[in-house]
């Protein structure tokens, strides 16, 4: 019947018989389709019968635009979000389909949050604070993660889609150390890029998070730009060469520099305590990584468990930020192994500023704030 109807329409046109000339205006149609019907379909994951899978409910369509919502804004699910201090996995949430005419490579990118340093992650998991808080994976297999670090369908993190083919994507949420009611992505956008000219046939690069790869190597701060050390909580100066030499924070060794507290005029303390700015030489500037996390590593003395928390505000600057300091977060002695990790907002970075934010009220009079042992990251060889 379908074919017949089409043919009838056609025959009415073609059947007019002999003619001298025909002049006809025709529209050039470029329809804007909803994401779920577009050449690159973005929609809820469907099964082999094209029926939506259960976790497709976490996909929302607003004005034809696809989105992912695990929040109370999503009226298709009753939960308001993932449980705090919990690991949640959602298999087969959304799918990308190639409804065009040639095979393509697809890649995603999104600025994924990091599990805050010092978060209490149970030992049974193979991730810790400083690692990615959300991991995307193919279908229902968390062991087959998708690299979302940057947008490059050529890179072997991208995956191929033949014409008519779909790939479902799931996500793992490691909600440890976040406030409840918080959006982990803080408004970040999921970028999707499909390109017919890309080549994603190779296997993904093997570049474990703890090892430098390719043209990258680990480096540590070379010099001190500025040091404004505070005092001990009791008011005494930090007169101890093991703690008051800012050069101790450069390089990678076991010496450290204590930031110290800053008393105010009324017998209390300023919010900002002592401060230290360290620098990386021009051939040693910190760069982002194209695969996995970028990592700025602030190492501190590994406090005894039960010792009160010491914290420092972490800011970075460099050509990549036009010289402006950009806040990255807070380093803490409660981080696993004393290693605080942060994502770089831009590259290159050549300055790191640390400002003590330790709460004096939980410390004794001899304490001297956050201890900076080393400041490191990745540089391009």
């Amino acid at each position: 019947m379908g074919v017949g109807a089409t043919a009838t329409g056609g025959s009415a046109l073609l059947g007019t018989g002999a003619f001298t000339s025909v002049e006809a205006e025709r529209d050039v149609a470029v329809d804007v389709a909803g994401d779920d019907e577009a050449f690159l379909r973005l929609g809820p994951c469907t099964d082999t019968n094209d029926d939506p899978r259960p976790n497709g409910d976490y996909v929302v369509q607003e004005n034809g635009l696809f989105g992912i919502s695990l929040s109370d804004d999503n009226s298709d699910v009753s939960g308001d979000g993932v449980n705090s201090e919990a690991l949640s996995r959602f298999h087969n949430v959304f799918e990308v389909c190639n409804q065009g005419t040639q095979s393509v490579c697809v890649d995603f990118a999104v600025d994924v949050p990091v599990i805050p340093n010092g978060a209490d992650v149970p030992d049974r998991y193979d991730f810790e604070d400083g690692d990615l808080a959300v991991v995307f994976y193919r279908g229902d297999d968390p062991d087959d993660p998708i690299n979302v670090d940057d947008l490059d369908p050529d890179r072997s993190g991208g995956f191929p889609l033949e014409v008519g083919e779909c790939q479902c994507v799931g996500l793992e949420v490691r909600a440890f150390g976040f406030d409840t009611g918080e959006d982990l992505f803080e408004g970040a956008q999921l970028e999707i890029f499909a390109d017919a000219d890309a080549d994603c046939s190779g296997s993904p690069p093997s570049n474990p998070p703890d090892e430098p790869g390719g043209d990258l190597e680990i480096t540590y701060a070379d010099s001190v730009v500025r040091s404004d050390q505070g005092v001990k909580k009791g008011g005494d100066s930090i007169d101890d060469s093991q703690r008051d030499d800012p050069k101790n924070a450069t390089g990678n060794n076991n010496e450290f520099f204590s930031l110290g507290f800053k008393p105010d005029d009324s017998g209390g303390f300023e919010e900002d305590g002592g401060q230290l700015v360290v620098m990386f030489d021009s051939d040693d500037e910190l760069v982002q990584r194209g695969f996995d996390t970028d990592i700025l590593d602030i190492e501190t003395t590994n406090g005894r468990s039960g010792y009160p928390e010491e914290k420092a505000l972490v800011e970075v600057a460099g050509p990549g930020t036009n010289g402006d300091f950009v806040e990255l977060g807070t380093a803490t002695n409660k981080a696993s192994d004393g290693e605080n990790t942060f994502e770089l907002p831009a590259e290159p970075i050549n300055k790191v500023r640390l400002t003590d934010r330790t709460d004096p009220s939980i410390h004794g009079s001899g304490s001297d704030g956050f201890d900076v042992r080393a400041v490191g990251g990745y540089t391009r060889v």
């Binding site: 056609g10 308001d80 982990l184 499909a194």
Partner: protein, 210 residues
């Protein structure tokens, strides 16, 4: 025959048309879309964990920090007890309920880091038939070793309960009246220090480590 040829011609025209339209699709597409993943209090989350109604829940369950915790070391009012009796099985019923606020049926249970002997969570929700179990065998509960004490059925400990007896919650289903029992000789003030109960739910046994 003419007519049939004509039809074929017309059909091929139609196909040609669609091939034309389709050739524009697509060399590359780049799109930015929203993604939000919120954390929620246990009471509102994908696996909602809530305090039951009633005196025991009021006394022993704390949901104030966004995550649920249990504290059996003392009572505030009206009594002023400071712990369980020695050498007795103490049962705290109606403490918690768990609701599946996700999108598919899940098997629900828990694990505990203080071993199976000192106590466990259990629930009282099979008897009225409102909850299905994996094996769906009403009335035939696992025989729990007597050393674990009473109540001797319906425990939700994934390390000791039999898979077939675990509760299955469809979206919107609530596992109600979850209680906790403490076995003789256990002192909650010391034996449960840093004790943690981990609720685990998944669509397949393999998702919850079974």
């Amino acid at each position: 025959m003419q007519r049939r040829n004509f039809l074929i011609g017309a059909v091929s025209t139609a196909i040609g048309g669609s091939a034309l339209v389709g050739s524009g699709a697509f060399t590359s597409v780049q799109a930015d879309r929203t993604i939000s993943v919120n954390t929620a209090d246990d009471t509102d989350a994908v696996l909602a964990i809530r305090a039951d109604s009633g005196a025991n829940a009021t006394e022993y369950v704390d949901t104030s920090g966004g995550t649920v915790s249990l504290d059996f070391t003392s009572t505030d009012s009206p009594g002023d007890g400071s712990g369980v009796n020695a050498n007795a099985t103490t049962v705290f019923d109606d403490l918690l309920n768990v609701e599946n606020q996700g999108t598919q049926a899940v098997i629900v249970g828990h694990r505990q880091n203080f071993g199976p002997q000192k106590g466990a969570l259990y629930h009282e929700d099979y008897e009225d038939g409102s909850i299905t179990r994996v094996g769906d065998v009403p009335g035939e509960f696992d025989e729990v070793p007597s050393s674990i004490g009473s109540p001797d059925n319906n425990i939700t400990n994934l390390d000791t309960a039999s898979l077939k007896n675990l509760a299955v919650l469809e979206p919107g289903d609530v596992l109600e009246d979850i209680g906790f029992f403490v076995t003789p000789g256990t002192n909650p003030a010391t034996d449960f220090i840093d004790g943690q109960i981990t609720f685990t739910a998944g669509a397949e046994p393999s998702n919850i480590g079974l």
